[in-house]
Amino acid sequence: MNRFKLLSSTLLLCLAYAGAWAQQQVVIVTSFPKELTEAYKKAFEAKNPGIRVEILNKPTPAGVAYIREAPASNKPDVFWVSAPDAFEVLSAEKLLAKIESPAKEVPAKIGNYPINDPKGFYLGQALAGYGIMWNTRYTKANKLPDPKEWSDLTKPVYFSHVAMSSPSRSGTTHLTVETILQGEGWTKGWRDMLMIAGNCAAITERSFGVPDGVNNGQYGIGLVIDFFGLAGKASKFPVEFVYPSITAIVPANIGIVAGAKNAENARKFINYTMSPEGQELLFDPQISRLPVLPSAYKKAPPGFPNPYTGTIKPKVNFNSDLSESRYYVVSSIFDHSITFRHKELVAATKAINEAAAKLSGKNHPQAAQLLAEARELAYSPVVSEEKSKDKEFLALYRNTKRDAERTKQTTALEEYWSNTARRNYEKAAELARQAAALVK
């Protein structure tokens, strides 16, 4: 009897499978949260009966690997994530199909950043800006003033209350770092970044770790992409979000996988996400992303930011070619001098803050001199501006082939950065302590 049951249920399962496969579908690889994907799945399926939307949610690197390794007979159809670098990698490997934008009214550029891929392999589907998010209960309990600008976060009052992710882990963090570097210049930009990082309680591995930590009160303030802040507020967490005046607006992208099994449906789906109706879904408080379609803002809820009318004013003219040319260099410098040396950087920052507090209001030139030296050591980038423009140096990181010689050179650089950073931080902490000892 049991065996019969097993057999019949297996048969039924097979039939169900066959049924599912007979139906049309479109397979979407994405890193976007469930609220967003579910809203699009539901709306698209209602509009196109007979086509099932299959969402495969994977972190961006896993998504790239999945598309690369999928068998030719079963390639997924749509790739939909924020990070433009992931699309660049896929299109360089000829894993994306050309696509024409169905929405002609979308301008070519936002600020200086092209919304659609100039080579035609992916489209901007929504816009996002980086900003500062904070937990109001946390800031109240710790008596912290509300931050407004990136430079606010370099102040000693925020020591160990901030969190950010690393540019090598999150394409959007990379854009923020690059925005600050371009807005403030290489040396001043790194100086700010090192001071902010010195104030950080953590450099999180996932970009989502920052808004998550701010929401639950682990961190007071976080550098986050706008929709995390806006959606957190909409979900009734005690958080606030602000765009600083130096910010870049960048697109989140969508594209068709080369050799997609259901290319026709993929096109239908992408067209839907770019249609006025599809764009308006972004206004859902749980989603809170900025449409790329300028006309969609007519239906925006009151107070919703609009990058086309100047509610957010990006001051930086973002140069995407410059960003691209030093992409891996910036990420690698950040990791080797900040992420992996965070403990030492924080210790240096702490010592410097304490010395500065002791010195304030006192006239002690020798101590002031020592403190200035400590700051110089701790907050100077390990790569000079001059070197950062060196073509040969950049070429080393643009060559992504894994040759013995290349690995040797890059690891030698990493070793140098990492050790220099650690030595500098330790020396800076030492100098700051000396300065503090001089002032009784």
Binding site: P33, N74, Y328
Partner: protein
């Protein structure tokens, strides 16, 4: 041993080797060969030299050793009293304590970490309370010590499970003779009981060390990147760079795992832990003096409170609407459960199915490998153990990508479906990734079993197969069960390979569902609800399989007595 028998042994060994080759060695090599080659395909060891030139990597390596070692120490401190008092003494609630002690293994991905942060984190309940009452806080979750704290709380059940199985197997006559000779208390434990339970303890300790050494989830959630597993993972999963150093780190982790394993067998070398008399139901349990009982209960309750805190946190989180910078959630709701039941009931079935298959295969392979190694003289049999155990050091991402790459062109028979899109591949990945757990338990169980019991059975006319089936396996039941439970529980929370291998939502297990929820701002409540359901489902699954195996073993025991074999 006759030649037909050794032929059968060789055939089984070859079949296992083929399985491991197909689902572990080949897929992994298709990914990590990068560590040994230039991009034109020529072989090189230069990447390894580059690796060792990095101070960061050497630092990471030492940090990993430190974290692994300390976690074993702390886990032992937690697990030893729990196991010793509940098995060797008359102890009320022993079964309950042992069962609760296993729960920490089912720590749903992300949710467990979130709950830990809410309780023990910088602004967690404990620190908020401390700060309110005494004006200071303790950084439980910071740096390497934070990693050790969380890892020890999470993985001490490896030691507990194996130690309970081992202690229960000790002949109480040993203890009694020692007592007659005047030993008692600490001395009795240190000189007699603990040494006899050594195989079980070592099996558990080795697992804790290997698992912690290779764990990437916990350090990354705590934002600790200066350890080897994290370095390997960060480099392998960075987009756009084909970075061989990450794969070099993986290879080094595999080597370290095998060396650690070899080390633990080396400690056991030349010692005999087998006793003739089984403990089991005939075990005489000692009594505790009242003041001893007080201490024992006090310690155990305290330990259980701490180790079960994350589960309590998950439970609270699952009923909460908003929980932010406060000792307890602000408001409570049942909505999270409604959401979860609406969205993801199919996932429970998937989890039970995949993990059941994986744990079942794991104990079968575990018994077979243990038997081949300890009871036969096949050449190179030790390698089965080494290769199977190396799986513990393979990052899930690597195994996942390896499967996609290796089985790219395989079609399921009678369909045009690729094998990589078939759900069974997820169950196989679990089998391979969790085999080391079941294997260590089976090895420990067989080490404690005296070979003369089998000889006796054979002298009485039983065939080799019949002996294995009716004597060896039933007497190993405790260890097999421990292996099944660890494999099953840990497979239920596997995520990294799962993410690579899920090709349809309908095939997704619960761990994937939890990951989905925890990716979104509003998802923490439903994620925790799914986590609670996962803990309950998996807990019940374990309990019933437990009972099934026990009943089976008991009826077998009864039969044995009747037939006199």
């Amino acid at each position: 041993m006759n030649s037909r028998l050794s032929f059968a042994h060789a055939a089984i060994a070859l079949a296992i080797a083929a399985f491991l080759a197909l689902f572990l060695v080949v897929p992994v090599i298709t990914v990590v060969y990068v560590a040994f080659t230039n991009s034109d395909g020529s072989l090189t060891l230069s990447h390894f030299f580059s690796f060792f030139h990095l101070t960061l990597m050497r630092e990471a390596f030492y940090n990993s050793l430190y974290v692994g070692g300390m976690s074993v120490l702390i886990s032992s401190i937690i697990a030893l009293p729990l196991a010793y008092f509940t098995v060797r003494f008359q102890f009320r609630g022993a079964i309950l304590i042992q069962t609760l002690g296993v729960l920490p293994l089912i720590m749903p991905p992300f949710v467990g970490a979130a709950a830990m942060q809410l309780l023990f984190g910088r602004s967690g309940s404990v620190n908020l309370l401390l700060n309110e009452w005494f004006g200071f806080s303790i950084p439980f979750m910071d740096g390497l010590n934070g990693v050790i704290f969380v890892e020890a709380l999470h993985y001490f059940p490896f030691i507990l499970l194996n130690l309970v199985a081992a202690l229960a197997n000790i002949d109480s006559a040993m203890e009694e003779s020692a007592q007659n000779l005047g030993a008692s208390g600490w001395r009795l434990f240190r000189r007699i009981v603990f040494p006899l339970a050594m195989p079980g303890y070592l099996a558990g300790a080795a697992l804790v060390f290997l698992k912690v050494f290779d764990d990437v989830g916990t350090p990354l959630v705590l934002n600790v990147t200066n350890i080897l597993a994290a370095q390997a993972y960060l480099r392998i999963t960075s987009i756009g760079i084909d970075d061989p150093i990450g794969y070099v780190a993986s290879v080094i982790m595999v080597i370290a795992a095998v060396v650690a394993l070899w080390g633990s067998t080396w400690v056991m070398r030349g010692r005999d832990y087998a006793t003739l008399q089984r403990g089991g139901s005939s075990l005489a349990r000692r009594r505790l003096k009242p003041w001893q009982a007080l201490w024992a209960y006090g310690w155990i309750v305290l330990v259980l409170l701490v180790v079960l805190a994350p589960h309590l946190g998950i439970l609270l989180l699952s009923f909460s609407k908003v929980w932010s910078y406060s000792i307890l959630p602000d408001t409570y709701t049942l909505d999270n459960y409604v959401t979860v039941f609406r969205d993801s009931s199919g996932m429970m079935v998937n989890t039970l199915l995949y993990c059941g298959i994986a744990a079942g295969l794991d104990v079968i392979l575990g018994i077979a490998i243990a038997y081949l190694i300890l009871r036969t003289k096949l050449p190179a049999r030790q390698w089965l153990d080494f290769i199977a155990t190396a799986a513990i050091a393979i990052p899930g991402v690597v195994l996942g990508i390896g499967y996609l790459r290796t089985f790219k062109d395989f079609q399921l028979p009678f369909t045009d479906e690729p094998f990589t899109a078939f759900w069974l591949i997820i169950a196989i990945a679990y089998t391979v990734r969790r085999l080391p757990y079941a294997l260590r338990s089976c090895m420990a169980a067989l080490q404690q079993l005296h070979v003369s019991l089998e000889e006796a059975a054979e002298n009485l006319g039983a065939t080799k197969n019949r002996t294995i089936y009716r004597v060896v396996v039933p007497l190993m039941a405790g260890g097999i069960l421990a292996g099944f439970v660890t494999s099953f529980l840990t497979a239920a929370v596997e995520l990294s390979a799962t993410i690579m291998l899920v090709t349809a939502q309908s095939d997704a297990p619960m761990s994937y569902g939890i990951y989905l929820y925890m990716q979104s701002i509003a998802g923490r409540g439903p994620g925790a609800a799914l986590g609670v359901i996962a803990v309950i489902t998996v807990g019940l699954g374990t309990y019933f399989s437990n009972r099934l195996i026990r009943n089976h073993a008991a009826s077998r025991d009864a039969q044995l007595l009747k037939t006199g074999v």
